[in-house]
């Protein structure tokens, strides 16, 4: 196992394609229009890595019937994914999406997710310490379930750093903000899908993003990636700050999954011996390559290689 993928709040994603979807009416869905897949950002990264032949162990909390279904779906991916979840009594969350391709509507029903008690957190922390010794890289990605303190990313990183592991985070501002006070990872990638806040402040212009990237590096991060206007990124390293832009037109409807592909791409680059800016470039190329087509499959390594020519990285600080 090369990677420990932590997904504290995994989900079972269910997708139904129902044309002419109408409320208060029975809809019978054909089997081919009913898809079930394991979800949650950490899980997604592990699934993408498996497509590139990288083995990982996925850990977090699962519970109830939905949790069993999630693990069962994850096992179908193949032997490159091992599972080591802490079991809880509450049900794992389920995200239901109903797509109507005729009326172009998307109806989403997401369950609230489980509450994690302190006993389960303690069990998880002890298991994490055992598992972390068996891998090279730790990626902690996605939301934090109820009952778990936002500083959990920092607590896990503190343990991982005792064993000199490379740690990647992708999370929202409140998690990064609280966790940074405990320990810093090697790579921070902001999940800015729901908010443009960075360290509690709402950023609006490029100068503010550059300054924020600089601050993260000053505080000890080796690499920070701040998504800007969805398709751009400000990337900070000890050598400076860069702005990444695509040289090709990006179809915004194909952005789903590109953030996880970015993280998986960086992990691939790290395993190849690349560092810092080159690692970020490779991850960005993978993310841009992912937007070239519909579907969940990640781009091939050849495609990523080709897309390294389709991105622009200009030094801005």
């Amino acid at each position: 196992m090369k990677v420990l993928a932590v997904c504290l709040n995994p989900a079972l994603d269910r997708e139904f394609v129902i044309d002419h979807f109408t409320l208060n009416k029975l809809s019978v869905v054909r089997n081919e229009n009913n898809h079930m897949s394991p979800g949650g950002k950490g899980v997604n990264v592990a699934v993408i890595l498996a497509k590139y032949g990288i083995s990982s162990v996925v850990s977090g909390f699962v519970g109830g019937y939905v949790g069993h279904m999630l693990i069962s779906e994850l096992r179908k991916i193949g032997p490159l994914i091992s599972t080591s979840f802490v079991n809880i009594r509450d049900d794992t969350r389920e995200n239901i999406a109903i797509e109507d391709t005729v009326n172009h509507t998307l109806t989403e029903i997401n369950s609230e997710g489980p509450f994690i008690n302190q006993d389960s957190i303690d069990i998880f922390l002890r298991r994490f310490e055992v598992l972390v010794q068996k891998v090279q890289i730790v990626v902690i990605s996605g939301s934090v379930p109820k009952g778990v303190d936002y500083s959990i990313y920092g607590e896990l990183t503190k343990i991982a750093k005792r064993y000199s592991k490379t740690v990647f985070w992708e999370a929202r501002d409140e998690v990064i903000n609280a966790s940074m006070k405990v320990a810093l990872p090697d790579v921070i990638k902001y999940d800015m899908r729901q908010s443009e806040n960075i360290l509690g402040k709402s950023l609006s212009n490029e100068e503010e993003y550059i300054s924020a990237a600089r601050d993260f590096i000053k505080n000890g991060a080796k690499l920070v990636i701040l998504s800007y206007k969805t398709i751009y990124n400000f990337v900070g390293t000890a050598d400076g700050v860069w702005k990444f832009s695509p040289k090709v037109e990006i179809d915004h409807s194909r952005l789903l999954g590109s953030g996880d592909t970015f993280v998986a791409g960086m992990i691939l680059a790290q395993l190849d011996g690349k560092c810092c800016l080159d690692m970020a470039r490779y991850g960005y190329a993978a993310a841009v390559a992912k937007t070239a087509y519909m579907g969940k499959e990640p781009p091939s390594r050849i495609q990523i290689g080709e897309y390294t020519n389709n991105i622009l990285s200009e030094r801005v600080d």
Binding site: V57, G63, H68, I71, R75, P79, I81, S82, T83, S84, F85, N87, I88, R89, I123, R126, R127, E129, V130, L131, Q133, K134
Partner: protein
Amino acid sequence: MEGLRVSDIMTHDLTFVFENDTVEQVVDLLDMTRLSGVPVVDDELKVVGFISEDDIIRACLPSYFSLLQTAAFLPDTNLFIANLKKISHDPIARYATKPVFTVKPSDTLLFVADMIMRKGYKLIPVVDDDNTLIGIVGRLSVLREFTKREMAVNGK
């Protein structure tokens, strides 16, 4: 059939307990995972034992029980429940099977099937060359695989 290995059917699941986890925690875990038993590991993920439902049930029965033909001779049926409560905070190491039988991914399925028949194992931990836990193999997986192969032989 002879070419089939543990690696072909093993489940890459790392559900485990530590030696100082309590009986109550293990019962809870078995209930939630629907597993009949779990490997016991040390702080380096090395397998040091195996704890099953059977082990816990045995721990709650009087030592002379194995000599009896039927549970009807137990002096008090509440004894079992009282004993379970009594041991619920004990470390699981006290009741785990040690040393534990493990297999490697390269072991043949025929070997595993043989051990299941002879010893009655329901779940067997799969370890690497360092005795580190890397998964489990269950008897249902073996049965499923053999059934599949048998059907292919019969051309069904």
